[in-house]
């Protein structure tokens, strides 16, 4: 019996050897780029923006130049799969840069593993979830929405939109992420400065015992409770992507204020929450999508009480990262220079970009765009 099992293992190994020669042939150089770029994103169910961002750069540079893989939906539980996918990208010797969007947990371990085998690999991270001090030690460049400054801008925006109180939904696991925890503190201070009530409310963790449906249902139940206590001029904010749709819906229904999502973009939460119809010609056109949202906001008489960023930060960051990766690998430009990054990013987004380095790090930048109020 054991012999048979041993034999089985051997047969697999032999099988692997005999079929592994195929990957070297397809390297005929003809395209624009003399190398490949690997991109890892989530699936659309995790958030459409990053995935479509990757599709856009594939359309631009060709599927033979951009290798696109995805991390599992429950990436928190399947770190090993995520790591293996990155290694798969690095296994192609033509891939010289890898972009991870978003930098979910496991990114550090994956980068470390790849750099052991291929020390020259360039890594650009979009929105790293892991500890910023530690991530900066592995990734060549990290770009993340400026969560700290957003602590001030969001509260200020809410005030300008007429809010007198500010409700912040989160849960312990998110509050153990440094930037999210500090942003909450900043919001609290800033709200006090502007004379607003700040309310921190615990919601169930979507990865916990009630799952995402339980967390979403809680939001739908809790928003009316908070409004009955603090009035309609209350601004609502949540740190979790999955809660945006019920939150936007509840805020619209009850006439409260919604200054910004966790990940600002017209496509994040709004279309799903408001049932916005997007026909084929409109698909992917930010201006058209914003117009459609405006229509719904008017319908609910919520003008001036709903807002977001005018473009998708997820898509912009991926386009920027690809552009920077090319500049680095092909032209050997120092892409950690703020001026270089800003130029790429403004080209990709078409709007004004504010860039701030994170606490003395020269390869970890916080990004801020202006808001659009519907």
């Amino acid at each position: 019996m054991k012999l048979l099992r041993m034999g089985l293992v051997m047969a697999c190994l032999v099988g692997m050897v005999s079929c592994s020669g195929g990957s070297e042939e397809d390297l005929a150089v003809d395209g624009k780029l003399p190398f490949k770029i690997g991109i890892m994103t989530g699936t659309v169910s995790q958030g459409e923006d990053e995935y479509r961002g990757a599709e856009r750069v594939i359309a631009k540079y060709g599927a033979d130049r951009i290798k696109h893989v995805t991390y599992p939906d429950n990436f928190m539980v399947e770190q090993e799969t995520m790591i293996a996918q990155i290694l798969n990208l690095a296994a192609d010797s033509k891939v010289e840069a890898i972009i991870i969007a978003q930098g979910v947990p496991g990114s550090m371990a994956a980068m470390k593993k790849v750099k052991e085998l291929r020390p020259d690999m360039l890594f650009i991270l979009d929105n790293p979830h892991e500890d910023p001090h530690q991530v900066a030690g592995y990734a060549d460049l990290s770009l993340i929405p400026d969560d700290l400054r957003r602590g001030e801008t969001i509260v200020e925006l809410a005030k300008n939109m007429g809010a007198t109180s500010f409700v912040h939904y989160s849960f312990p696991r998110h509050m153990s992420q440094e930037l999210l925890a500090r942003r909450k503190d900043i919001m609290e201070d800033h709200a006090a400065k502007l004379g607003m009530d700040f309310v921190y409310v615990n919601a169930p963790d979507p990865t916990g015992d009630q799952g995402l449906p339980g967390a979403q249902k809680f939001i739908l139940e809790d928003v009316p409770r908070q409004i009955s206590q603090y009035g309609k001029d209350t601004a609502f904010f949540s740190t979790n992507c999955g809660m945006q749709e019920p939150l936007i819906r509840a805020v619209m229904d009850k006439g409260a204020i919604f200054p910004e999502q966790c990940c600002p973009s017209p496509t994040h939460g709004y279309p799903g929450a408001l049932g916005i119809a997007i026909n084929e010609e409109q698909a992917g056109d930010m201006a058209q999508i914003c117009e459609a949202i405006q229509g719904k906001v008017d319908e609910y008489n919520q003008q001036g009480r709903m807002a977001t960023w005018p473009v998708s930060i997820g898509i912009v960051t991926i386009e920027t990262a690809v552009d920077l990766a090319i500049k680095k690998v092909r032209d050997d430009i120092d892409i950690t220079q703020p001026a270089v990054i800003r130029e790429s990013m403004q080209e990709a987004s078409g709007v004004d970009v504010t860039l701030v380095p994170f606490e003395g790090k020269d390869n970890y930048y916080l990004v801020l765009l202006d808001s659009i109020v519907f």
Partner: protein, 351 residues
């Protein structure tokens, strides 16, 4: 008042403990917080009705001797398919709601039949197989949501222009139609008469079915296979019927759930739904071998009410202590509510 005494006796010590805990929470809410008790209670009822049919769906499988149907996401996926298909055809209102139940239930019957055939081969390991079948159904359905040939512009991804969105909003279709049907205003909330009536109606129908000749045969097959076989009951057929019923009810259950929730959750939404459902039934006093309609009603109400009530109450109380205690409520809820359930589960049941 004798019925109240009987109720407590019937509840047993496990349910008694959880009920006391729940009542304690309500008292605490009234005394120590500004939360409107009526609103909290209404939320509990809504959540109970919302989850009720899904919990009920577990009963036929347990009765037929298949155990707890962890494969309920299979039925859920069928129900989602029914909803999505009718929404894509731009059918709205009650016709859409009941059409989704019929279509989802029909496909659920087919899927349930195949699932039963698989379970027949893995007798003794149905629950473990069920977990993985449920996961596989959710992953397989995810592929379908991505490539589904939907045309309704309210359903497709706004950037990609194809495939179904993660969350579909039911507001213009049949959001809370049953909840609001004959709803009775109750303090800051309302009692979802239609929703509860529908759920209890389903419970009644299943109870009636279990009283029929086929129903008793089903129960007999689950209770003692050899004995049932000896008395001329086709056990395999009964088990198949049990699984099919369970899957069909799962499909109907998710339609009810979604209409009350107001959204349809595709992709990973149904992945872990089997677990709270099973927990509710077990807390109601059911076992792997025996489950009654009473277990469903009590369990759903107790479990969902504890989940609904504990967090806002603890949130309010802790908020008085200042923001340095910010994270305590969710952690306290995890420990207290799961601790109570754990305590209840490990009590030796006295008859």
């Amino acid at each position: 008042m004798t019925w109240a005494v009987d109720l407590i006796k019937g509840l047993g010590i496990t349910r008694g403990i959880i009920l006391l805990f729940l009542v304690g929470l309500w008292i605490l809410a009234t005394l120590a917080t500004s939360l409107p008790l009526t609103g909290l209670f209404a939320d509990c009822l809504i959540r109970t009705g919302m989850n009720g049919v899904l919990v009920l769906a577990l009963v036929p499988a347990v009765r037929a001797g298949v155990g707890l149907n962890f494969g309920i996401p299979l039925g859920i996926v069928c129900g989602l398919f029914g909803m999505v298909t009718l929404m894509d055809m731009n059918i709205r209102g009650y016709s859409s709601l009941f059409g989704a139940m019929v279509l989802g239930g029909g496909i659920g019957a087919l899927a349930g039949f195949l699932y039963a055939r698989l379970l027949e081969r893995v007798k003794g390991q149905e629950m473990m197989v069920g977990i993985y079948v449920g996961f596989a159904a959710v992953a397989g359905a995810s592929i379908y949501w991505l490539v589904a040939p939907v045309k309704n512009p309210e359903l497709v991804w706004p950037l990609g222009g194809a495939g179904l969105r993660n969350t579909l909003v039911l507001a213009d279709y049949y959001s809370q139609y049953l909840d609001k049907l004959g709803a009775i205003p109750f303090g800051t909330g309302y009692i979802p008469t239609g929703l509860l009536a529908f759920w209890l109606g389903m419970c009644g129908l299943l109870a009636l079915f279990l009283k029929t000749k086929m129903g008793t045969a089903l129960t007999a097959a689950g209770a003692n296979e050899r004995f049932a076989e000896a008395s001329g009951i086709n056990v395999t057929r009964m088990r198949t019927i049990g699984v099919i019923l369970s899957t069909v009810l799962g499909a109907i259950g998710i339609v009810i759930y979604s209409q009350s929730y107001g959204f349809v959750q595709l992709y990973k939404g149904p992945l872990l739904m089997a677990f709270p459902t099973v927990a509710a039934l077990l807390i109601g006093g059911a076992t792997v071998r025996n489950a009654t309609i009473t277990h469903v009603i009590i369990g759903t109400f107790l479990f969902q009410s504890v989940l609904t009530t504990s967090l806002p109450v603890v949130n309010e109380i802790v908020a008085k202590g200042g923001s340095e205690f910010g994270n305590i409520p969710e952690i306290a809820r995890l420990i207290i509510s799961n601790g109570i359930i754990l305590y209840a589960l490990t009590r030796k049941e006295s008859a």
